[in-house]
């Protein structure tokens, strides 16, 4: 727990970065010790992204960084200067009907297949699902299950999550 040495640069000295978050460009002054997750949740009031473990073990904090799924708790915000970040709040705008206030197909599929209960892991599951589809590696149920195993759902909605993803991958989302 205890830091035995002083950090070389004061951890709370802000550094200027630019992030495009959900399509909106933001100039931010961020301390080096601030994670992308804490920046989103505590400074920008984007609390859709969840903190479940802060150790990269549960996946609740998953966001898309330049389209790739990333544990935002293991990512210092200053490392992502210039990046495009998509959180659950911005997923809808990635959908086919962007701008129409419609949900992203994966969001609709999660509702349709009841792919969540308490909802706390859901933003991470959703971003991870989109990341998985962007990667294009998973084609079968087994591959989806494997590639979604970084996102824990303690309510146990796994089979419904796989149903929802399969549905969207097959273009079947309503």
């Amino acid at each position: 727990m205890r830091l035995e040495t002083q950090p070389p640069v004061a951890a709370d000295t802000p550094i200027g970065i630019t992030l495009t978050i959900n399509g909106q460009r933001r100039e931010l002054q961020v301390a080096p010790w601030t994670t992308l997750l804490d920046l989103l949740r505590e400074r920008l009031d984007l609390t859709g992204t969840k903190k479940g473990c802060d150790h990269g073990q549960c996946g609740a904090c998953t966001v898309l960084v330049n389209g790739t799924r990333v544990n935002s708790c293991l990512t210092l915000a200053v490392m992502k200067d210039g990046a495009e970040i998509t959180t659950v709040e911005g997923l809808a705008s990635l959908g086919d009907r962007a701008g129409s206030n419609a949900l992203h197909p994966i969001q609709e599929a999660f509702i349709e297949h009841d792919a969540f209960q308490c909802g706390y892991c859901t933003p991470g599951q959703l971003c991870s699902s989109v990341g998985l589809m962007n990667e294009g590696h998973a084609h079968t149920r087994d591959e989806i299950r494997e590639a979604m195993s970084g996102n824990i759902c303690r309510c146990g909605a796994y089979t419904n999550i796989v149903d929802a993803i399969e549905d969207v991958m097959q273009g079947g989302a309503r």
């Binding site: 205890r2 009031d45 073990q57 609740a60 509702i111 969540f116 706390y120 303690r154 796994y158």
Partner: protein, 750 residues
């Protein structure tokens, strides 16, 4: 869309699959949880946890922490503001007997990870950093956390925990009958210590309002419990504090009691006169409440035809030094099976850990695992099919309650439908008889059981002239789908579309309802909402009859039919009036009612109420790796009326998944030398992930029950009970190895 007030009325929404009405909020990130509410000048508290499990704090040096820019306060037992101190002030609504834990109370350490200081700073990172600079010196004593080593100190709880039935007096003579039984099975069984680990860590945000009152967002399964706790501990008047929790990121029992982060957040907010949030870290989620291991012994004696002649089930379970936590572990054996000679025992051992707590189907998960594994052993010993053995000894009445009949029990049908769906008839009972590639295949079955309960609950219903109906109470939707079922019930009762109804929960300004637990919420809050809506309907009907040229003139209320937003006359549908017209004509701004609902005492005098299940599991075991995969589960559930098959199925799926975790993965490991759970993170405490879960099939068996007007019996717990036994039984069938100590990790099969 037709719904009448008569009990035989048709349901439009109730009983049909409906998507969660809180779905859009949850998939867009708009649903806010306790640690996510903002407030001006919000300060952040970070907890410093004890490094020892037992002893005293000899000194706390917080100077270095206080010197960090941005740190506002370091609270310890030495400088904390005064609060109440008596046990009864700290005893929450579901506290077991004893002396509840009080954070920062004095220098005494009673469990590892006990909060010893709270560092409050202007931002989260500063608080976390400064917390690492608080130096705590201890005088440590040797902790006692080893249940096996301390078994000899077991005691009978001096006070029974409210709502928890102690074991019944023995009947017959189990020991003698066992001694002379033709077939005998006995063994020791245990389930590891488990932690709930909801995805949302416990958090409380205390907002200091301009008028000096507090708005508190607390991770709790029922806000009235936190409200009572805060008023009792901090000497606040009920209207000085409002507690909300519209969404809960998983509870499974961990949110039944107010936890220490609530106390610390309020303490800091009062001291600093500033809004404060305290969120626990994941490792701190191992510093309160857990499902404590129980050492169980079972002895079963039977006739050659499988008729049980002796049943003995004893359990010794850990509790803390300061509370006598109790759950029902052994009684289930006496409820499930008819036997003339039964002895059930339950004792506690004090350990230097936090007080254990209710975790999804508390006691039943533990006890039913043991008895249902032992029954499988008996089936093999008697060379009987395990289902046939269970049906042979099927209880038609509750022997633990003077032989009272069950209000309903469709367990037989669960076995029928479940085995048909699973293909049980094709099973070759011989262990190690089926192989698929490098894996051995096994099929196992077990019974599940949980109590069906209803609690005193109130609810409000408000109809406004725009045709909108708002219903609610203070209980929480912990992911179970309560918002949705209450909406269905309310819409049906007043014949409105679901989208005309708003359900509100988790706010102490709403009528009081108990914590969401025990699988009682649908029965309790559902009935209260239905009654409140009926009351509103009756009031609107009166207003309708009083209208000029009322189409309902001279009509008796029992002929009123509420459908399609109108009140019509039964058998004369031409005579009707819309609810909106009635309210507008009457010139009222709303019609409102608050109603109470509680258990039916007459029913409870006559009947005992349980939900049941039959669980079928298929496992595939790689003998070289010792790895078990649960490739197929069929869970057939008898739990009364199912209000929403879609969300209900999800509850059972979730129970099965947690049951798989319990059987194969979950184990909080204590290092007894230092009295600490060592694998306190989700990397080392394994819960099922997506790749661990294959096919799960849920069957709801029709069951008519009259314990409450809705006919529901509760679904939150039954899905997990018996799952671990079905898996251990399947593993035996696959491998010939009988695992009696969970979880079935590879080392136990190699």
């Amino acid at each position: 869309m037709t719904q009448t007030f008569s009990s035989t009325g048709r349901d439009t929404f109730v009983g049909t699959p409906r998507s969660r009405i809180d779905g859009p909020a949850k998939v867009t990130g708009l649903a806010k949880y306790a640690g996510e509410f903002a407030a001006p000048d919000l300060a952040y508290g970070y907890v410093v946890s004890s490094a020892i499990a037992k002893g005293r704090i000899t000194a706390i040096d917080s100077a270095e922490a206080e010197a960090v820019p941005g740190v506002l306060k370091v609270l310890t037992h030495e400088n904390r503001p005064r609060t109440a101190w008596r046990d009864k002030n700290f005893q929450d609504q579901v506290a077991p007997p004893g002396s509840p834990f009080r954070a920062l109370y004095d220098d005494l350490i009673v469990f590892s990870g006990q909060p010893v200081a709270l560092v409050v700073a202007a931002d989260f990172e500063t608080a976390r950093y400064a917390a690492s600079l608080v130096r705590v010196s201890y005088e440590a004593q040797e902790p006692g956390t080893d249940l096996r080593a301390l078994r000899g100190t077991a005691y009978d709880p001096p006070y029974n925990r409210e709502g928890i039935k102690p074991p019944p007096e023995p009947w017959g003579d189990a020991d003698t009958a066992f001694g002379s039984a033709a077939i005998r099975v006995q063994g020791e069984y245990s389930l590891a210590d488990e932690h709930h680990n909801p995805m949302e860590p416990h958090a409380s945000t205390v907002v200091v309002e301009e008028d000096g009152t507090y708005t508190v967002y607390d991770k709790i399964q029922g806000v009235s419990n936190s409200h009572q706790y805060l008023t009792n501990v901090f000497g606040l008047k009920p209207d000085q504090v409002r507690v909300l929790n519209p969404y809960l990121g998983g509870g499974f029992g961990s949110g039944l009691r107010p936890q220490y982060q609530l106390f610390l957040a309020m303490l800091a907010a009062q001291e600093l006169k500033r809004s404060v949030r305290v969120t626990l870290s994941r490792d701190q989620m191992w510093s309160f409440t857990y499902r404590s291991e129980a050492l169980q012994t079972i002895a079963l004696g039977a006739e050659p035809d499988g008729t049980l002649t002796a049943l003995r089930h004893d359990a010794v379970q850990g509790t803390s030094q300061y509370e006598d936590y109790q759950e029902v572990v052994v009684n289930w054996s006496g409820v499930l099976y008819r036997c003339d000679n039964v002895a059930l025992g339950y004792r506690l051992v004090k350990l230097d850990t936090p007080t254990p707590g209710d975790m999804r189907a508390p006691g039943a998960v533990t006890g039913v695992f043991a008895i249902e594994t032992a029954m499988d052993e008996l089936a093999y010993a008697a060379k009987l099919d395990p289902i046939a053995l269970r049906l042979k000894n099927y209880a038609e009445s509750d022997a633990t309650a003077e032989g009272k009949p069950f209000g309903s029990k469709e367990l037989r049908r669960c076995f029928e439908l479940g085995s048909e769906r699973f293909g049980w008839a094709k099973r070759n009972p011989e262990p190690r008889s089926t192989r698929e590639g490098r894996e051995l295949v096994g099929w196992g079955v077990a019974t599940g059981i949980w109590e069906s309960m209803m609690m005193q609950s109130s609810a409000i219903a408000t109809l406004t002239p725009d045709g909108r109906l708002t219903v609610g109470n203070s209980t929480g939707d912990i992911g179970t789908g309560t918002y949705t079922i209450l909406t269905q019930i309310a819409a049906d009762t007043l014949g409105l579309p679901m989208d005309a109804v708003t359900a509100k929960l988790g706010d102490t300004r709403l009528p009081e309802a108990p914590v969401a637990g025990g699988s009682w919420t649908a029965a309790s809050s559902g009935t209260a909402v239905m009654k409140a809506c009926r009351n509103v309907g009756a009031q609107v009907f009166k207003l309708a009859r009083a209208m000029e040229n009322s189409p309902l003139a001279n009509v008796d209320f029992d002929r009123a039919v509420f459908a399609d937003g109108r009140i019509a006359v039964a058998g004369d549908p031409g005579r009707s009036v819309s609810l909106v017209e009635v309210l507008q004509a009457a010139g009222v701004d709303k019609v409102e009612a608050v109603e109470q609902a509680g258990p039916d005492q007459d029913f409870n005098k006559k009947y005992e109420a349980y939900t049941h299940s039959a669980i079928f599991a298929e496992v595939k075991v790689d003998e070289e790796l010792g790895q078990v995969r649960v490739t197929r589960v069929v869970s057939a559930i008898a739990a009364g009326k199912v209000l929403n098959p879609k969300t209900a199925r999800s509850q059972i799926l979730g129970g099965v998944v947690m049951g798989i975790g319990s059987a194969l993965e979950e184990e909080s490991m204590l290092d007894h030398r230092i009295g600490r759970f060592m694998n306190h993170n989700l990397g080392e405490y394994h819960v099922p992930v997506n790749a661990d879960i294959y096919d799960i099939d849920v069957i709801f068996v029709d069951e008519e029950d009259k314990a409450n007007p809705l006919g529901v019996k509760g679904l939150g717990e039954i899905g997990i009970v018996g799952v671990a036994a079905a898996i251990t039984n399947a593993v035996f069938h696959a491998t010939g190895k009988r695992v009696r100590h969970l979880p079935i990790t590879p080392d136990k099969l190699l």
